[in-house]
Point group: C2
Chain length 219, copies 2
C-alpha cells in the first residue's frame, strides 16, 4: 500500500479506517492537460500526488482564470473535495500541468472520516488553513503588488519549478495563471526584454538576468 506513505495521518487511523481507505482509494495516471476536477461535476475527493504537477484555479463566467494553488509530489489537497467541507461554496478546477500520478480518496468516505476521527478532522483543518493562508497571500499580491512584480515573481518561480532558465510557456498560459489578459503579459514581457531581463524567442522565454528580475520583484 504505497499510498499510505503519501497520507500523513495514516498511522493515526484505526486498522478499520485504514482498511476502508485501502478498499476504495483510486490510483490514476493522467496526461498533461487533463482536467481532473471540475466543481460542476461530481466531487473528486482528497487528492494525494505521487508524481507530476497539478494546478488548482478558479474560472470566471467569461472564461478568465487565476491559479490559486499548485500541487507537487507528496502534496495532499482538499480543494478537490470542497463539496464535503462545511460552509464551502466555490468553484475550483484542477488540471494536470505535467503528466501526473495521483491517488484519490472518495469525498463521501473522507467526509465520514472527518466526522468520526479527531486526527482526520485536525488534518482537514490544517489543509484548509493552509489554503486559506495561500489565498490570503495571493490576494495581497493582487491587491497591492504591481503587475511587473507579480510577473517577475512568476517567471522566477516557474524557472525554479522547471529547473531551467528557458521557460516553454505561452503568454496566454501566463495570463491564465495571473488572472490577466494575454496582451498585458506580452506588453510587460517586451518591456522586460528591453531592460535585458529576459529574451523572447519563438515558444520560449529565456531568463537572461535573474538577479535583476529578483530585484524587481522585491523592489
Amino acid at each position: 500500500m504505497e499510498f499510505a506513505e503519501y497520507l500523513p495521518i495514516w498511522d493515526k487511523l484505526t486498522p478499520q479506517q485504514q482498511q476502508m481507505i485501502a478498499e476504495v482509494v483510486e490510483f490514476r495516471k493522467v496526461k498533461k492537460g487533463t482536467h481532473i476536477h471540475d466543481s460542476s461535476a461530481e466531487c473528486l475527493g482528497l487528492v494525494m500526488v505521487r508524481s507530476g504537477q497539478l494546478r488548482a484555479y478558479i474560472l470566471s463566467e467569461d472564461g478568465r482564470e487565476i491559479t490559486i494553488s499548485r500541487l507537487f509530489e507528496y502534496d495532499v489537497s482538499l480543494l478537490s473535495a470542497s463539496c464535503v467541507m462545511p460552509d464551502m461554496q466555490f468553484n475550483v478546477m484542477i488540471e494536470a500541468e505535467k503528466d501526473t500520478e495521483f491517488w484519490s480518496i472518495p469525498a463521501c468516505l473522507f467526509k465520514n472520516l472527518v466526522d468520526e476521527s479527531l486526527a482526520v478532522s485536525s488534518f482537514a483543518n490544517s489543509l484548509i488553513s493552509g489554503n486559506f493562508s495561500e489565498l490570503m497571500w495571493l490576494m495581497e499580491q493582487i491587491m497591492w503588488k504591481s503587475f511587473d512584480k507579480r510577473l517577475a515573481a512568476f517567471l522566477l518561480e516557474e524557472a525554479a519549478i522547471e529547473g531551467t532558465s528557458s521557460l516553454k510557456i505561452t503568454h496566454e498560459k501566463i495570463a491564465s495563471h495571473l488572472g490577466t489578459a494575454r496582451e498585458v503579459v506580452t506588453r510587460m514581457l517586451r518591456y522586460f526584454q528591453s531592460e535585458g531581463m529576459v529574451k523572447l524567442t519563438r515558444g520560449a522565454i529565456e531568463i537572461s538576468d535573474p538577479r535583476k528580475l529578483d530585484d524587481l520583484q522585491n523592489g
Copy 2:
C-alpha cells in the same frame, strides 16, 4: 452564563470543558473605532459577538486596507485566533465599526479544545471553511468585477446593514473597505450622482435610486 448561547457547540462540550471556558471567557464592551485585534500583538482568541459590528481587514505595508469579513450579533470568528490555527500565516486586524460587546475565549484554551475534542475541531473546520469561501468570493469580485459594480454592491449592502438609505460614511472609509484609493471612490460616486443613483451631501451619501444601483451591480 449568557455566552453559552453564543457558542453553537456549547452543548457538545463535556461539563469539564464547559467549566474551563466559563472560568476564562472574557466579556468586553468597546467603543466604535477600537482595534480589538492586531496580529502583531498577542492573539485574541475565539470571538463571539453579542451586539454591535466588527470588521476584519488586512493591511498592506503602505497602509492600504481591504475588508475581508464583517461580524454581527451571534457571529463567531477565528480570524482573531489565527495564531493557534495550523499552517495559518497572515496578518488580520479587527476593529469595531460600532459600539460592540463581545466575549473571547483565549487562544491557548481554544487550541487545547480543538486538539482534544472532535466537536470543537469540526466547528473550527466549518469556521475556517466559511472564511475561505468568503475570501474566494472576494477574490473573484476583485479580479473580475469592475469597480463600479463593487461600489454599487457595497453601497446597497451598507444600506441594508444600517437600515437606511442615507449612509454616513466617508469616501476614505469606503476606499479602505474596497482596497482602493479615496480619489477612485470619489470619482465613481460623482459619476453615480450624475446618473441619478446617489445624491452626495456633506457627510452623507443618499441612495436615490436603489433599483438602478442594483441593476448596475448585477449587470
